[in-house]
């Protein structure tokens, strides 16, 4: 049977995946939500998270309408419509996970109380699975429908359809990326502002412990953990996955990259099949957890990820085998092995796993011990040790990305690079599940603490929290590598879409472009770090205002106004993300229009290299400080209350905006810059500075309505 005949129907698998997600949610939802105190706490966290989500959604909605209108004027209604579609999918991916997380947290806490660890692990994990499988299913659904509307199998060949398709898909990915920007950057500022605000006033000024119910910022802190960890990461990974598939399709169908009709049809089908297989493997992984020993939660989480990856690779092998590639590069004449695309996928999957291992090493016990020891020489030694560990870790991560690019290119050319990105991201379902587990476990611990559920329950949630934190560090680093590979794949798509013969690094205009591109991540990092400080100051002022205005709060007789804290943090987070967001979108437009499309190519390369390095540095330094502080908490270098503990707290506080705000922002930044460039190519090519470059002007293309109509008739 010809497998490619099935491509038109793959989106249905996305629907089925959503159905499985719903089933899991229904099961988890019915678990006992604990006693009245716990339910009350959970309700507060929920209303905090939903207040954040609502306000962000309103701003997102306004942004999507405005940006969509602008895109409509500049790039046409197809791009604008696809932009809206991508934004809706990303919002669904981001908020479904958040919705589940703030409801599963209390059920995990209850399970930790009774019956104990196995049930708590499973509850938290399946709560994470709602986020994870929603992301993966929406990716399959969204890209499957795009394929259907944009291409439909028999038309793969027509160059004009490719142009049209490229407009649609880049619009879709840009919509997803914009939402990811809000969720990741805004969510990152929100969560760290609430965290720092809660800690600085609570612990240092008022002298009350972490997660104390009297602290008005405690609820905002717990809600922020979920917002940053599920909505932010969910939108980020959804966007990477969709963009990787889109890049693979775009490169696969470009003339000059692959020879032969059958090959090109297969090349376009493969990324869709791959993420469909990844969704199946992720679902299998989710159900596998029930059969693992729960005593060592971190090991269990690793096992399900590795098992899903292995299952995915087996399926990917079968798919590539069945598609029967016979690849050659049209421009160089180079012939590839018929399993080349599988090897590229393998390179991506292996690279993703290796990046995790490297991160685990650089942020793991050994590094934490070293930083903890340095802490006994004071805060400066602690900070320098963490910075050094972070800088060091960025090098092997980059080497792994380079090795993956090289291996994939050797296996299947430019198409191979895009497929490596797909391979890395195909099991996004299980990856996101494990990541979303982190804030759920963290929240459960907070509820156990706030609800005085006793030492046994606390031991269970602390174990889960530690496992979640380690996996979180690994997956944050993974998300950076995935963003990097995706950017490189998008970069290849940009180049072939513009039709440039070359982006020549000898041309000084290109040099200026890449220098400018390199500066953008530094600017955004500076801005977001400052933003967190500013927003945290606002939260601190609010908490102080409540403490001084109402002494009953500290006495425990009057509940604090948690909603006001959430509101302050949300408002500041949204205000503070405007400048980095605008900079990310405007910089490529200015360079493309002012210096030309080659300089823009240089800019994207420059932004990718500094973005990846800064992101890894910041994320891993932050994780290393965090674990070092935990290490000291548990007795190293003098333990709690020692000078080393003070020093470790300094590093931990610096690491918070590093790992949860500035670092993750880079992921969005590098992808969004590429996507904006990709979407604006027709407009850029119409400018005087770019005259005579790129492909000849296109014929009028299909309207969105026509495309939908065509897709429907094609199916019927």
């Amino acid at each position: 049977m010809d497998l490619t005949l099935l491509t038109d129907w793959l989106w249905i698998l996305g629907l089925l995946g959503l159905g499985v997600t719903w089933m899991i949610w229904e099961r988890v939802r019915k678990l006992p939500p604990g006693n009245e105190v716990m339910r009350g706490l959970a309700a507060q966290v929920q209303s905090g998270a939903m207040a954040f989500a609502r306000r962000v959604a309103v701003v997102m909605g306004a942004f999507v309408v405005l940006a969509g209108a602008l895109l409509f004027l500049v790039a046409g209604y197809r791009t604008a419509g696809a932009f809206a579609g991508g934004a809706v999918c990303a919002m669904a991916a981001a908020f479904s996970g958040l919705f589940a997380a703030v409801r599963v947290n209390v059920r995990t806490a209850e399970a930790a109380r009774y019956p104990g660890l196995p049930a708590a692990l499973r509850t938290g994990f399946e709560g994470g699975a709602v986020a994870g499988l929603a992301v993966a299913s929406l990716a399959v659904l969204g890209t499957g429908l795009l394929y259907l509307m944009g291409i439909g199998r028999p038309d793969v060949y027509e160059e004009i359809r490719f142009r049209e398709f490229a407009e649609i898909v880049s619009g879709f990915a840009m919509g997803a990326s914009s939402i990811a920007l809000f969720a990741r950057v805004g969510g990152g500022i929100f969560t760290k502002a609430a965290d720092m605000g809660a800690d600085l006033v609570g612990k240092l000024e008022a002298g009350i412990p972490e997660d104390d119910p009297r602290n008005p910022a405690t609820i905002a802190d717990l809600a922020g953990d979920c917002a940053g960890g599920t909505a932010g990461m969910g939108a980020d990974l959804f966007e990477s996955c969709a963009a990787a598939v889109i890049a693979a399709i775009a490169v696969g169908m470009t003339e000059g990259t692959l020879t032969g009709y059958e090959n090109r049809i297969a090349a376009v089908a493969l990324p869709l099949f791959a993420i469909a297989a990844g969704l199946i493997a992720s679902i299998a992984g989710v159900f596998l957890l029930r059969h693992l020993k729960p005593e060592r939660p971190a090991a269990a989480l690793r096992t399900v990820q590795l098992a899903s990856a292995a299952l995915f690779l087996v399926m990917a092998f079968g798919i590539v085998f069945a598609l029967g590639f016979d690849l050659a590069d049209e421009s160089t004449g180079r012939v590839y092995h018929y399993l080349g695309p599988f090897l590229a996928i393998l390179a991506g999957t292996v690279a993703g796993t290796l990046v995790g291992a490297v991160t685990a090493f650089f942020t793991g016990p050994r590094a934490a011990r070293g930083i903890a020891e340095a802490s006994s020489q004071g805060a400066a030694a602690n900070v320098l040790a963490g910075i050094s560990a972070g800088l060091q870790s960025s090098v092997p991560v980059l080497l792994i990305v380079c090795a993956a690019v090289g291996a994939a290119y050797a296996s299947a050319g430019l198409y191979g690079i895009a497929m490596a990105a797909v391979g890395m991201l195909a099991t996004v379902g299980i990856t996101m599940t494990v990541h979303a587990f982190g804030p759920i476990a963290d929240n459960a611990g907070g509820i156990v603490q706030l609800g005085h559920l006793g030492p046994d329950a606390r031991r269970v949630t602390e174990g889960l929290h530690t496992a979640g934190k380690e996996s979180g560090a690994v997956i944050t680093s993974f998300s950076i590598a995935a963003a990097a590979l995706t950017s490189i794949a998008l970069y290849a798509a940009y180049a072939s879409w513009v039709g440039l013969a070359g982006i020549n690094l000898i041309d000084p205009v290109v040099v200026i472009g890449f220098l400018l591109g390199g500066a953008v991540p530094f600017a955004v990092a500076a801005l977001t770090i400052t933003s967190v400080s500013k927003a945290a100051r606002a939260v601190i002022a609010e908490v102080r205002r409540q403490f001084s205005g109402n002494p009953g709060i500290m006495e425990g007789t009057v509940p604090p106004d948690s909603a006001a804290c959430v509101d302050v943090a949300t408002r500041h987070a949204l205000r503070e993300m405007i400048i980095p967001g605008v900079l990310t979108v405007v910089a490529p437009v200015l360079v493309g229009a002012g210096l030309g499309v080659e300089a823009l190519g240089g800019m994207l390369a420059g932004a990718t290299v500094t973005g990846v390095l800064l992101a890894t540095f910041m994320a891993n330094a932050g994780s290393a400080w965090d674990l070092a502080r935990q290490h000291v908490d548990m007795g190293a270098a003098g333990g709690r209350g020692s000078p080393a503990h003070q020093a470790a707290l300094v590093g931990d506080t610096i690491g918070d905006p590093f790992k949860d705000t500035a670092g993750p922002s880079m992921n969005i930044l590098i992808k969004l810059m590429s996507l904006v460039s990709l979407a604006l190519v027709p407009w850029l090519l119409s400018l005087p500075i770019n005259q005579g470059k790129g492909a000849p002007p296109q014929e009028p293309a299909l309207s969105m309505l026509e495309a939908i109509a065509r897709a429907v008739t094609h199916l019927v």
Copy 2:
């Protein structure tokens, strides 16, 4: 008169400059060296600095012999001989300044005691002028002699001579760069290890003040300031200046860049005339100081720099006018204005001044106040504010470099870019003078403190110290921008020397090279930061050993063994610079041989962009923390002893290795990688992977002896 006839004789101007330097030294040397205590202290600092210099010189010598032998095998004796010549010039530039600085420090202290500020400023400044004018004179002498031996005017045209010349000059620059690596990285580790060691044991453990004579690390600290501030910076700026001239000559004489015989002769002459004019302008600036009001030392230092730059620009205008350019780009056919090369020089000079202004803003009083205020919220807030300021400052610095590249390219093509670098570095004499003034003033303050010379003298030296520190921050940033422009110019030379049609960023191999290059500065930053910590720990252990083994030291009855501390710091500094040094040299070799010359081009570009950004970030964050701490010292945010002061000390300590070790190392790194690549081009092109790329094989070229003989006959 045809100005180019004079080119052969410009090296004599270098000799004359050395004569002026000697005159200034003779005058300063005869100033009163203070009372017996002061002379004793100065003798200790001198012997400490000389112990460092001797040991480094031995290692440098061994390295030059070994690397020269290797170069002889790989690239021939001409490159090897030039390598040795460059190394000798750079050593002379580095150590003559150090030699003077450790002798002028005590004379400046004596002048501060009597007659007071004007004499102290002048003494310190003229001590700095020994370093500054030596660097500038050696640059004129070295490049002038290279020109004479390598080209000689009538042969400018012959392609074969160009190849030969390129081999010689890249060898020369690489020799200078290797020495700069030792002086800058080794000196940076030495000075910060001594500084941190002295502070941590002295201030924190033994409770004795800074610069206490009982602390065995005090002398090493003072010697280290001079070693880092004069030898390190001197070798760095010498190398930048020589490399910029070389790049301009190489680009100017390449076929395809400029049209016409006369033009090319003029283009080759211009950079040599420019630095000769810069030397004259610098000498004028040195003598101008005597006529300025000394009450505001910082303003006086700024005035001499601006006056020298203005004088240089006037001369440069006259030279360009007299040379009578009539430029056009052979490959694009673009015609440039006859003053184009002057405009390029102007762009470089203006960019250098602007970079200084930006740095003064980001590390100046306003930033310092902000960071000081953040300090009252704790060490983490202080560190985050400094990091944010540093990250922010890197963006405008890069924008200025981009603007200079763009303006220079528009004025005179690729040649213009190289001339912009020359324009930025031409007044290196006065720049280095002002920079070397910093550690002399710092040392003078230490001697005033150690010798109990009273509050009046202390007030004078503190004023000088502050002025020196502010100028130091500005010039450190300037040196980064200069290294960046030089690297870009060298990059252009690399590309035209390899004869590549393009370094195409669409080629994944180039992208891999680009990513790998970007990672090198991160690796070196991580290594050097760790190195400082390790070396500081060794110094700390030595100080503790002396304190506990000999209680007489703390009682003040027995002098501490300062030489042992110098020895420990030197040994560790030299050991710790091996890995970063080897990495810098080996990385381009591996990429060029393993992935090809295009990937190597990508690597150089990637290293430049992340190197410049990291260097600016680290240098400026370090300076901002330093000034913020001073600000708190003087009473801001609670003043000395407050919690804010503790927090400010944390930032200051983190900033030390940032601004004096890791940041400056980047300058050397990016230049040395380019130069290694340039020198190994013939070898790289002979490898199988690079077959068919680049220029056809050369005919046998002149021997070094023949070249010297030819130069002599040419003169006679």
